[in-house]
Amino acid sequence: MISKEHFKRPNNRLEGEQEPKVAALDAQDEQDLPVLVCPECKAAFDRDVREETDFVCPRCGALWQMSARERALWLADEGTFAEMDASLECADRLHFPGYAEKLAKTQRDTGEREGVVTGTAEIDGESCALFCMDPFFIMGSMGAAVGEKITRLFECALEKRLPVVGYTVSGGARIQEGMFSLLQMAKTSGAVMRHGNEGLFYVAVLTHPTTGGVVASFAMEADVILAEPLALIGFAGPRVIEQTLRQKLPEGFQRAEFLLQKGFVDRIVPRNEQKRELALLLKLNRKGADR
């Protein structure tokens, strides 16, 4: 498992430890405040800077975490993103203690029903099916609804003969849904396989952090696997490994650059290159006459 620390939103200036009372503001209010602070270098910026710099800190170059919806709208050509299954949400089948409350609070804080946004879109004019996971929704965990939405997306892409572009960010399977979340790994893998068997293209972009059951299923099943610079990518989280082995991990372990070197990632692509590279990959992987 990995820690909450891996899921940091670029903070509002007023959120920091110095002024804890303002941290209780709800998400809607935060959105209205004009200033944000880079969680890495602590420099303050105007909120509008995010879109202008592709959500990258202009001072230190840190990649700011993006919500699923921010990501989808940033990536898709203007006005082309058509969301699917927007109202789909999970059921608390196990009545896991505290889960219903946690889910309700997360939905309130994020304004999202679940941890992934799916739909169809165009990227530089190339049609595709798109999913973006949400780092702020229970640490991007995969519950039954996340698995269901991703499965439906691949099935829809198969029916419409569309390639799939998928942005992953996840702490792994959602504990509170027990085996219902674990088995989403099998379900999504089946959908990826069927889509691929029809000769359709799937490209994944692994963002910080992508771990656990998501790495051990659809994140690693793409035809082409891209990663964002410095993204933490691994099956086990670094803390679990340190606890198991009782030793410190080497610098850069499980980062995107490490996976590239070990042969598990095709390319590391900075934010401002992603749209162009994805569109190019979609074009190059088109079939025969469509080319």
């Binding site: 059921a91 099998a186 490994i241 070990k262």
Partner: protein, 261 residues
Amino acid sequence: MTTAYERVQAARQKGRPTAVFYIRQITMDFLELHGDRRFGDDPAIVAGIGRLDGRPVTVIGIEKGVETEEKIARNFGSAHPEGYRKALRQMKQAEKFGRPVLCLIDTAGAFCGIGAEERGQGQAIAENLMALMGLKVPVISVFIGEGGSGGALALGVADRVWMLENAVYSVISPEGAASIVWKDAGKAADACEALRMTAQDLYGFGMVERVFSEENGDFTKVCENLTAALSQEFAALSALPAKELTARRYEKFRKIGGDEV
């Protein structure tokens, strides 16, 4: 009434039979086949071919080991990527030669370590999930002890998933769940209940087709029961055209958590 915590303890009990015991009891002429042809041979996974009631079958088992020295050699049944790749190689050969596949699952989880990450533990498991989903021969997975998360699922995408009475299967260890959700690893007993990880729970959810009695600890009898059931089920599944077999397998997993609103 046996509690979930008692079942977890039973599944982990020292002296409980491990995969090799079942392989010996269930199959004849078993030949172990080693290696993944990529990196090495993982002793945590035992794979090979044998006869089950006369029929050639591929058997893949996660083996924890019995005595201390063997347990260490087998990494206590926590496989590395090369173990899952050895399993994949045997599954593909089973498909090539039209043999059904029997998986015996007993693991606390896939190994969490530096080498495992360097060699792509996540990728190895993911590849097995896809391969099993599309495998054109019958697959039956039997949980004989612990079913630890993705490391168990990597051999658990099957036409029939069966569990022994005290076997468990969970998204995370109860200790892990307690420390993450409640910040208190001491609440593992509560987590056992909350996770709904017993064979009986999972049967109730429709994730498991059959739960086998442990015959009050007479595991030789358990193996007799398993052999008869496996023989019958492999015969029935082998009669299905491959397309029908894989379509049914897909639908079986497709419907789990498929009624979200």
